[in-house]
């Protein structure tokens, strides 16, 4: 018996009005794989994530997450958005934001339980942000907020972690901390990470999927100048760099 893929995308196409954003996408991600999704702006990365999360419905083709429909499986995914979808001035503490990641585990009725608060503090510790627990969400810096959003995703006990540009507002030192943490989490989690920085993520991920309306997969060793030119057009130069 073959194992059920964590994420399976078959013949997927999607358009906003007249403009086709995704065309005939095929993607299969095995459990505990670490896949990097790269591509230019407006190449359809965020749309593909929204479809996998069940926030959008595919117009053609199908998506299965852990053998279920995306809507059914949404609770088994931890999602870290690129931009927070909440107002920054909301009167709420970091700990309360992270506790919200526990919704959908057990009953939603009544007051919050101690197990949920403990799980939230544990997740904050995991991302090295326990000292922020009592801070108001609006007072955090970009990098701190990113770690808190990661904690919110982790506290829901996900089987898949999906991150959209997690290192966009983070300086390099913190960035390598985040990737070290992701590498540890990868021992029991499937990870799909969107980034615009191919060279950097190729040090960590097992496979790179390049998306610009259509999708092409590469093993990390195969990401060479040909592949990048095909993706971004001819004016991009590949600069090999090590950190």
């Amino acid at each position: 018996m073959t194992t059920v893929p964590a994420i399976l995308v078959e013949d997927l196409s999607f358009s906003y009005g007249d403009s086709r954003v995704l065309e005939q996408i095929q993607l299969s991600i095995a459990p505990r794989e670490f896949v990097g999704l790269v591509g230019p702006n407006a190449g359809g990365k965020s749309t593909l994530l929204k479809l996998i999360l069940g926030l959008l419905k595919p117009q053609a083709g199908r998506i299965q997450v852990l053998g279920q429909t995306p809507r059914q499986a949404a609770r088994r995914i931890g999602y870290v958005p690129q931009f927070p979808s909440f107002p920054r001035d909301f009167p709420i503490s970091v700990e309360q934001v992270v506790v919200m990641g526990r919704l959908g585990i057990g009953s939603m009725l009544g007051w919050q339980r101690k197990v949920d608060r403990d799980a939230a503090r544990h997740a904050l510790q995991e991302v090295d942000a326990l000292d922020l627990a009592r801070r108001r969400i609006g007072t955090l810096s970009g990098g701190q907020l990113q770690r808190v959003l990661l904690a919110r995703a982790l506290t829901g006990e996900p089987e898949i972690l999906i991150l959209d540009e997690p290192t966009a507002n983070i300086d390099q030192r913190v960035e390598s901390d985040v990737f070290a943490l992701l590498a540890t989490l990868n021992q029991h989690l499937t990870i799909l990470l969107v980034s615009h920085d191919i060279a950097f993520i190729s040090d960590y991920v097992s496979r790179v999927a390049c998306l610009n309306r259509t999708l092409i997969c590469h093993g990390t060793t195969e990401v060479n100048s040909d592949a990048i030119q095909q993706l971004y057009g001819s004016h991009v130069r590949l600069v090999a760099h090590r950190h």
């Binding site: 958005p81 709420i92 919200m100 990641g101 009725l109 919050q112 829901g156």
Partner: protein, 282 residues
């Protein structure tokens, strides 16, 4: 003020008015907090004004106007909520249209109802001194519904108010809780119409919670402080208006508006001082 306290001991209608104000402030504190943090004051305004349609129809057909108000408020809340959830592009225009159409319907009905023209002013601006004692029970029942619903569904309400997209991913039925929240706003509007009338409702729904938001940074804390402030504004407004024989509703609103203005200036000044203190601290 002393005269008010003396009169309060003697006249049952003043005691009823005071109680009505305090009962209304529970709704304005708990639901007003959601209205402020979710920024749906405009929707709440639309719900409040369209209530006149229900009140007018109820008068015309000889039904209790409060029941008319409650059904119109809930109907408009569901309509506005559905528009917001499934038809985003025209949201503000449609709310504005419902706002005016509701009032127009109400005024037509009232014009065709013999002998009720004087009541129009008390619908629009409230008359807390005319609240009958049996209506206190109705208000208390509405308060109980509000508080129980918020207590039972506190976590999904918080999630939907804070981050709808994330709530949806966690399997929270977002549309259901969003519409339920608007229905609670509708119930609160009906509570507050007793006290300040439907035009001034929006002030009591937002100002106490907004003032609380200047100083406390949790939803629960805002609810408690906003309820206390709401109680203070209604009681003090009633007392201040008694001796010079001013209408009570507008007095309460002016009081709340002035405190809001002062509080906004004060909290801004405090923030500047704190920032300067931080910058110069060694």
């Amino acid at each position: 003020m002393n005269e008010f306290l003396l009169a309060l001991g003697q006249h049952a209608f003043l005691q009823t008015a005071l109680l009505a104000g305090l009962l209304a402030s529970l709704g304005c504190g708990v639901i007003g907090t959601f209205v402020v943090v979710k920024r749906i004051a405009f929707m709440a305004g639309g719900i409040a004004h369209s209530v006149l349609g229900g009140m007018g129809a109820a008068l015309y057909y000889g039904v209790d106007p409060l029941l008319g108000a409650l059904s119109a408020a809930i109907f408009t809340a569901l309509l506005i909520g559905t528009i917001r959830l499934f038809w985003k592009t025209q949201e503000d225009t449609l709310i504005g249209a419902l706002w005016a159409v509701g009032m127009a319907i109400g005024i037509l009905f009232i014009a065709k109802t013999p002998g009720y023209a004087n009541d129009l002013m008390s619908f629009l601006f409230g008359n807390i001194l005319l609240v009958p004692t049996r209506e206190l029970w109705f208000m208390a029942a509405l308060d109980l519904i509000l508080i129980l619903t918020v207590a039972i569904f506190y976590r999904p309400f918080l999630a939907v108010t804070f981050d709808e997209e994330f709530a949806r991913l966690r399997g929270v039925p977002v549309a259901f809780f969003y519409l339920l929240l608007l229905c609670l706003v509708a119930v609160t509007v009906v509570l507050l119409i007793q006290v300040v009338g439907l035009i001034l409702v929006i002030a009591l729904l937002t100002l106490p919670a907004a003032i609380a938001g200047h100083y406390v940074h949790s939803l629960g804390g805002m609810m408690i402080i906003a309820t206390l402030l709401g109680g203070m504004f209604t009681a003090l407004g009633l007392a201040l208006s008694y001796e010079p024989d001013l209408p009570a509703g507008p007095t309460m609103i002016l009081l709340a508006g002035s405190v809001y203005l002062l509080s906004a200036l004060l909290s801004q000044a405090l923030r500047w001082r704190r920032a300067r203190h931080q910058a110069t601290a060694r």
